[in-house]
């Protein structure tokens, strides 16, 4: 029901919003003193509350990085859990300032929904998971004809699923839920044979099932799912801040700046690092963005560089143990490439 509420809220907000040009998001955020960040309702590794109620994960840490860049304080962020259906309306209506919720960057979302994507914080692809104990002998997605497939509504996953089965002339029985927890419960209870979502998501969800060892992720990847943060269209300054926060995380990793050594690095005389950390004489790259000149120092001190965020939340240092793969830096054969700060 909540998405209807948000839909109506959005519709009414659009009706009653003053039509005069509103203040920029940066000013609004500074005035209220925190960033309202839209995250998932609980996807391990990306955004999920821990037992103390703190949001953990790659997407949640990205919100903190932006807060650190704006305020110099990573705690100045409030999280709004959103279902797949609610997320865009929440951003459009101004309920959140930043959407960092494992959201796939597509042309339609970029052009027709009034949002802009700031980058790709995680390159993913859609996969399938089955219960190997109940279905021995199934080791390829091409054997899934006739299966009941659990999927979350309002996602690109739902569309890729339809396309994949149509392309391979297979039949399936969609079992569609709005909330992630409902899909998990239905799959765990045996209502459907197959669970499909982004592969990283499957690994995270597997950990929450009753007996994770029984379930296997099939090898096929059926789509490109570049996941990244999005902001409202038409506020270039705010879009720049979010985009360059992402690049700063990548550049920090590339330059070897970590949470532990960032203070030492400030004395470095490598001009590249000086520009990044705002220690270059007369440099004002932070100020140009509308931030302080030591913005990158604040980000890295608060959450570490991209590699540290990755390892902590989804990589070797987490229960998910996902390899860096195509999410490695470009210098190590991956796709993550930070534009230069200069």
């Amino acid at each position: 029901m909540k998405h209807i509420a948000i839909g109506i809220l959005g519709a009414t907000a659009l009706g009653f919003m003053a039509s005069a040009a509103s203040a920029g998001t940066l000013d609004t955020v500074k005035q209220k003193g925190f960033i309202q960040c839209g995250v998932s309702t609980g996807l391990a590794g990306f955004s999920a509350p821990d037992d103390k109620g703190d949001w953990k994960g790659l997407d949640a840490d990205f919100c903190r990085a932006v807060a650190a860049a704006v305020f110099g304080d990573a705690t100045k962020v409030k999280f709004t859990p959103l279902s797949a259906k609610e997320r865009f309306t929440a951003l459009q209506s101004g309920e959140i300032d930043l959407l960092s919720r494992n959201t796939t960057w597509t042309s339609n979302r970029d052009s027709a929904l009034g949002l802009n994507f700031a980058g790709v914080t995680y390159y993913d692809g859609q996969g399938f998971m089955i219960n190997a104990k109940k279905l021995p002998g199934v080791n390829s997605a091409l054997q899934l004809s006739g299966a009941a497939v659990c999927v979350q509504s309002g996602t690109t996953t739902e569309l890729n699923l339809a396309d994949y089965f149509k392309k391979n002339k297979m039949e399936y029985n969609p079992v569609v839920f709005e909330k992630l927890e409902e899909v998990n419960a239905a799959y765990d209870s045996g209502r459907c044979d197959v669970y499909t979502t982004d592969q990283s998501g499957l690994y995270g969800i597997r950990l929450t099932l009753a007996s994770p060892a029984d379930h296997v992720v099939l090898p096929e990847i059926i789509s490109k799912e570049p996941l990244g943060p999005a902001v409202r269209q038409g506020d270039d300054q705010w879009a720049h801040i979010v985009r360059w926060t992402y690049f700063a995380l990548l550049n920090a990793e590339e330059a070897g700046i970590t949470q532990a050594n960032v203070d030492e690095m400030k004395t470095s005389n490598d001009p590249n690092i000086q520009r990044l950390l705002g220690t270059e004489p007369d440099g004002k790259y932070g100020a140009d963005l509308g931030l302080s000149n030591d913005w990158v120092v604040n980000i890295v001190k608060a959450v570490g560089n991209y590699g540290e965020i990755f390892e902590r939340n989804v990589g070797a240092g987490s229960p998910l143990k996902i390899a860096r793969g195509i999410n490695a830096l470009w210098t190590k054969g991956g796709l993550q490439y930070g534009m230069p700060v200069r």
Binding site: M1, H3, I4, G7, I8, G10, A11, L14, G15, F16, M17, S19, A21, A84, K85, F88, T89, Q92, N108, R109, A112, L113, G114, K134, L135, V138, Q143, L144, S145, G146, A147, A148, S153, G154, E158, L159, L161, A162, D163, K166, Y172, N173, P174, V175, V176, F177, E178, E182, A185, A186, S189, G190, R191, D193, R232, Q233, G234
Partner: protein, 395 residues
């Protein structure tokens, strides 16, 4: 008019402002202006803001390819169909569950409502417990009770419970053989229509005869014989053109046959049970509302308790029952939107998906509101006709 004005007397009002007619006209015009003005302001603002936020708007999206699949499709639908068709599928699913729910809720409601007035202590108490339980639990919980508490604990497809006539029950739903009609099935249909027409005619003649002579004719059993007998005869004559498609075990599920999914079953059961509790109370109130003298008089005329209830009490109780019954039917239809919690693709769920895939929030919510409004108005309209026919005809 003239006499009225004399009665009221010509106004001795101080001024034009104190004239009640001018005043009422003034306030009516003011309200209309305010209403139109604020509507205009809201619509204009929406258009303005959508443009400013770079959100595409309009209803053109209804004609583009939907790209997603729907689990229950009463009409042909694939991922190649349009968003418009997806919405129609959702609307039909809402109507199906609402109509099925209304019928079942009415039957359970009447049985329980009459049961609460039974002379039998046990029946009376059981009916009271039923009403108190279902009336005091939120409908969403009742839905979850059926979905997670009853249907989800059934065995998986490979260990389905076998039922008579080749039907199966498992956690994926209820499977039964699908009837496949062969050549000559039109004859059976014709026989059925003919039988219904004849039954109606028999009933009409019997009533006329009873009015004139007071003699009664066993209309009910004659009608049953006609409606069952004639199509059966036609079926045998045309060489039994009927085969069954039985559900069979395949790799994942049972295939073939007809499947009723657990999402539909639990929503349907929950809405029926929940609304039936309210209908039972309405029926009880209706029967209680008929003066005791009516049934005593009927008893004095020698009628037994069955015919008293059927011929004297219920027809009078219906006049009290129908208006609040209409509200319950409307409630049931609107409560069916809770389907979203268990993934039954009703109007709210499909419109929500369409809304999200296209990003057209304003249009999506608008379509949903209009659809529910029309559904409710149609229900009220039909019930008003029924009510008018039941109303006391004063002579």
């Amino acid at each position: 008019m003239a006499s009225q004005e004399i009665l009221r007397g010509e106004p001795s009002r101080g001024s034009f402002i104190n004239d009640p007619r001018v005043r009422s006209l003034f306030f009516q015009v003011l309200v209309v202006l305010l209403l139109v003005g604020s509507l205009y302001w809201i619509v204009n603002n929406v258009i303005d803001n959508l443009r400013r936020l770079h959100i595409a708007s309009g209803f053109q999206f209804l004609g583009s390819r939907a790209g997603f699949d729907i689990s229950d499709t009463p009409i042909a639908y694939t991922s190649d169909s349009t968003y418009g068709r997806a919405l129609v599928v959702g609307l039909l699913n809402t109507i199906i569950v609402a109509v099925a729910g209304v019928i079942t809720a009415t039957i359970i409601g009447f049985v329980v409502g009459i049961g609460r007035l039974s002379q039998n202590w046990l029946i009376r108490k059981i009916c009271t417990v039923y009403v108190e339980i279902f009336r005091n639990i939120p409908p969403l919980l009742v839905i979850f009770f059926w979905y997670s508490g009853v249907l989800a604990v059934l065995p998986p497809p490979r260990e389905s419970i076998h039922l008579p006539f080749g039907s199966f029950l498992n956690q994926r739903g209820f499977y039964f053989p699908r009837t496949v009609w062969g050549e000559g099935n039109w004859l059976i249909l014709v026989a059925l229509v003919l039988a219904i027409a004849m039954a109606w005619f028999v009933a009409y003649r019997a009533r006329q005869r009873q009015m004139v002579s007071g003699q009664r004719f066993p209309v009910f059993w004659t009608s049953v014989a006609l409606i069952v007998g004639l199509p059966l005869l036609a079926f045998l004559l045309s060489g039994m053109p009927l085969t069954f498609d039985f559900p069979k075990q395949s790799t994942f599920n049972l295939t073939g046959g007809f499947q009723i999914k657990p999402e539909f079953l639990s929503l349907y059961m929950a809405l029926s049970c929940y609304t039936a509790a309210f209908i039972a109370e309405i029926v009880r109130a209706g029967i209680k509302g008929v003066s005791k003298g009516q049934s005593e008089a009927a008893g004095a005329l020698g009628l037994r308790s069955g015919p008293i209830l059927r011929l004297v009490v219920i027809p009078q109780a219906m006049r009290i029952v129908i208006p609040p019954l209409t509200s319950q039917y409307l409630n049931l239809t609107k409560n069916s939107s809770l389907a979203i919690a268990i993934g039954y693709p009703d109007l709210t769920a499909t419109a929500g998906t369409v809304l999200n895939q296209t990003g057209q929030a304003v249009e999506g919510v608008f379509i949903m509101m209009i659809a529910y409004l029309v559904l409710s108005l149609v229900t009220s309209f039909v019930m008003n006709i029924v009510n008018a026919r039941m109303a006391l005809v004063e002579r």
